[in-house]
């Protein structure tokens, strides 16, 4: 027996709706984006590890909008085997899929005195391999349907390997390149792939990070930028915007200098 579909408002020509999936929605940018997209009329499937946070978020969204706009799906991004079934169920529950936001990300800054293999491995498993697990099948579907939008939250940290956190740098660099590859593969099929590279954004992750955090911005500012870029179907954005120029400089610092810097 097919599972009963949850009671979402039915789409009609006079009440159309877009369907979105946010992976990594329980906190940070994912959560704020969920609120924002629901307000803009999206029907959302929200995926996160932490059930309590996720359910609270969905209740908040549904109450604020006066109707069911968000459905919770508890899932750990590194449980790759669950993905095909869960994805199919989500698309069926939503009745379609227009936009996917991959916002799942962890950061385990290494303690210089210890080996960080476990942390590095987890960062790779969530930030990068999690993206493969979810975005590979979604890319195939969007390519086949000749429409859709994929948004990946990468980071300025992926632009250069630095002293402090090689694992995180690697995971985000990998994600950036993966998204670029998807873009090159999918643009010709009418699919938009947006890479978001935030600077420092005041989320839980930032609290755990170490070192100086110049120009940190509130989450709402970052998500507003992301939504604007989504509507304009951009390829890549830095948020806030000036990181584009900062990273332009940093990317172009010659190695002979960069390897002597403590940054």
């Amino acid at each position: 027996m097919p599972p009963q579909r949850p009671l979402l408002p039915f789409a009609t020509p006079l009440q159309p709706r877009l369907c979105g999936l946010i992976i990594g929605a329980s906190s940070g940018m994912g959560a704020v984006l969920a609120h924002l997209l629901a307000r803009e009329g999206y029907t959302l499937a929200l995926i996160a590890r932490r059930a309590d946070l996720l359910n609270t978020l969905c209740d908040e969204i549904n109450q604020t909008n006066g109707q069911t706009r968000a459905l919770p799906y508890v899932h750990d991004v590194s449980n790759y085997d669950e993905v095909p079934d869960l994805l199919r169920r989500i698309v069926s529950d939503l009745g379609g899929l227009d936009t996917v936001i991959f916002a799942a990300g962890v950061n385990y800054p290494p303690d210089p005195a210890k080996d960080n293999f476990d942390g590095d491995r987890q960062m790779l498993e969530v930030n990068l391999i999690g993206a493969f697990a979810w975005l590979n099948p979604i890319a195939a579907m969007f390519q086949s349907a000749k429409r859709g939008q994929i948004v990946g939250i990468s980071s300025v940290a992926g632009d250069r390997g630095r002293v402090g956190n090689p694992g995180y740098n690697t995971s985000k660099a990998g994600l950036t390149i993966y998204l670029e590859a998807l873009r090159n593969r999918l643009t010709r099929h009418g699919v938009n792939v947006l890479t978001v590279k935030p600077g420092f954004v005041k989320t839980e992750m930032l609290k755990a990070a170490v070192g100086p955090m110049p120009f940190a911005i509130p989450v709402e500012k970052a998500t507003a930028d992301i939504y604007k870029a989504m509507r304009a179907r951009k390829q890549q954005i830095y948020t806030p915007w000036f990181w584009r120029w900062i990273m332009f400089i940093i990317r172009n610092i010659p190695s002979v200098i960069f390897r002597r810097m403590n940054f």
Partner: protein, 482 residues
């Protein structure tokens, strides 16, 4: 859209990859609704059965889709499996001696009439477009401009075979499995999928119809004409200038036609030829019609349609009689290819109400006045005369139908939605009904009111019997019966 055999899918366990690669963006005919689905194109009953198995295994639902010409969500199944029936498009048997034709469900009305017309036969009932499929026509139980005389297409079905989600194959006729016969025709594809359809065709003695055209100066005159004159003709259809107000509210034109008898057409042999039935592809012999919709779109707004409707009304003032080919008379909607695209990015919706003859005039006067007051005049209005039928989810009444088209834009959605809710109330209070494949906003409450709880319970009981696992579901079904 590439067909992959479901059996291979199940056995090799390539299901996920394969399913993802069948994901297709589907729309309604009016381009006002979009619902992507995993699309398969079955070529036989076995393959439909395999799709049911795939659905069971994956927990997905299935909807059959004919040509996708319904104005709403009847052939959409967002996030589920859609069986595009276009590959099952063979005419299995055609007997010009008896006029009986047996065909697969993906055969279109166009294919059908073009196969039989040169031999002096015509489908007894056709829709306003020839691109619909027989399976879709039966599921919706379509009617033509002769509904008052010959009923819906279902009344001309001698027999059909279908495959049920349980895997059982059934044969139904008015005598055999009659309950299923009367429920599957009009059943919106929710009980099973047709695999073959046997229809009785109508003999014709000329490729032409004799058409009388005359104006009507207001809605009262219009409906009186439809009522009084229908018995004298084989076909009758009215056009309403829905943009005219005041005393002229509901003014329009009537086209009434009759078949020509034997010997009435001296050139019958010639007029029956297919080349004399085709719609011209160019206007004035030069202007290609395939791009005409681009030139129409600047006029598809309140002012533009007022101008076009007024012009058309003035042109329709003289009374005249002429002879016209069957195809030209029936398939008005196909005159301008892709005309629906001229309604812009938001697409269009159609609102068709079927109201008893006693209450129709008052109800529609109220509706037209309301639409003018709200600044949302319909851009096109078509009337027909109807008679009731025995099918379970019937839309017909002893009265008239009025179909009106609205353009959907980002700014008018809320207003239009509120107005259609008021329309629903007017129609239901007048004892009217709706047509499921046209109206996109019919609520479960409205459906219950005109069908009656008993009918719905009967339909659901049959559904339980044919489809115990709830595999067949369309967006329409979930919206109205879910």
């Amino acid at each position: 859209m590439v067909y992959r055999q479901p059996s291979m899918v199940i056995e090799l366990n390539l299901m996920d990859i394969t399913l993802n690669n069948t994901f297709t963006s589907l729309e309604n005919f009016g381009h006002s609704l979009r619902a992507p689905a995993y699309v398969f194109k079955p070529t036989s009953a076995e393959e439909i059965s395999e799709a049911f198995q795939l659905a069971k295994k994956t927990g997905l639902t299935v909807t059959a889709r004919g040509a996708g010409r319904s104005y709403n969500d009847a052939s959409l199944n967002g996030g589920g499996i859609v069986l595009e029936m276009s590959a099952m498009n063979k005419i299995i048997n055609w007997d010009p001696a008896t006029g009986q034709v047996r065909a697969e469900p993906g055969v279109t009305i166009q294919q059908l009439w073009q196969s039989i017309e040169p031999e002096g036969w015509w489908p007894p009932v056709v829709s306003g477009t020839m691109f619909t499929t027989l399976g879709g026509c039966l599921s919706a139980n379509v009617h033509g401009k002769n509904n008052f005389k010959v009923g819906t297409i279902g009344e001309h079905v001698l027999e059909f075979t279908a495959i049920l989600p349980t895997g059982a194959e059934v044969t139904c006729s008015p005598k055999k499995n009659a309950d299923l016969f009367y429920a599957m025709i009009s059943g919106l594809g929710m009980l099973g999928v047709f695999t073959s359809i046997t229809l009785q065709m109508k003999r014709i003695y000329s490729g032409l119809l004799e058409v009388d055209a005359r104006p009507s100066h207001n809605l009262h005159e219009h409906l009186t004409d439809l009522l009084d004159n229908a018995p004298n003709y084989d076909y009758i259809v009215g056009w309403l200038d829905t943009t005219a107000g005041g005393k002229s509210l509901g003014r329009g034109q009537i086209h009434a036609a009759r078949y020509l008898n034997e010997n009435e057409d001296p050139n019958a042999k010639n007029t029956l030829l297919l080349k004399n039935q085709s719609l011209p592809s160019r206007i004035f012999g030069v202007f290609p019609k395939s791009i005409l919709h681009y030139f129409m779109s600047p006029f598809v707004n309140n002012l533009g349609t007022w101008g076009v409707n007024t012009g058309k009304y003035i042109a329709s003032l003289p009374r005249y009689t002429f002879r016209e080919s069957h195809a030209a008379f029936h398939f008005l909607l196909d005159y301008i290819p892709n005309w629906e695209l001229s309604f812009g990015r938001g697409g269009l919706i159609e609102y068709q109400s079927f109201v008893p003859k006693e209450t129709a005039e008052a109800a529609w006067m109220e509706m037209l006045r309301l639409s003018h007051k709200r600044g949302l005049p319909p851009y096109l209005g078509v009337t027909k005369r109807h008679r009731p039928d025995k099918f379970l989810l019937t839309h017909a009444v002893d009265g008239f139908s009025l179909a009106i088209d609205f353009k959907v834009t980002n700014s008018n959605r809320k207003k239009l939605s509120a107005m259609l809710q008021e329309f629903d109330k007017i129609v239901l209070d007048a004892g009217g009904r709706f047509y499921f494949v046209k109206n996109s906003e019919t609520s479960p409450e409205s459906a219950t009111r005109f069908l009656g709880e008993e009918t719905i319970a009967k339909f659901k009981k049959l559904k339980k019997r044919c489809d115990p696992n709830g595999i067949l579901e369309s967006d329409l079904y979930r919206r109205v019966f879910g």
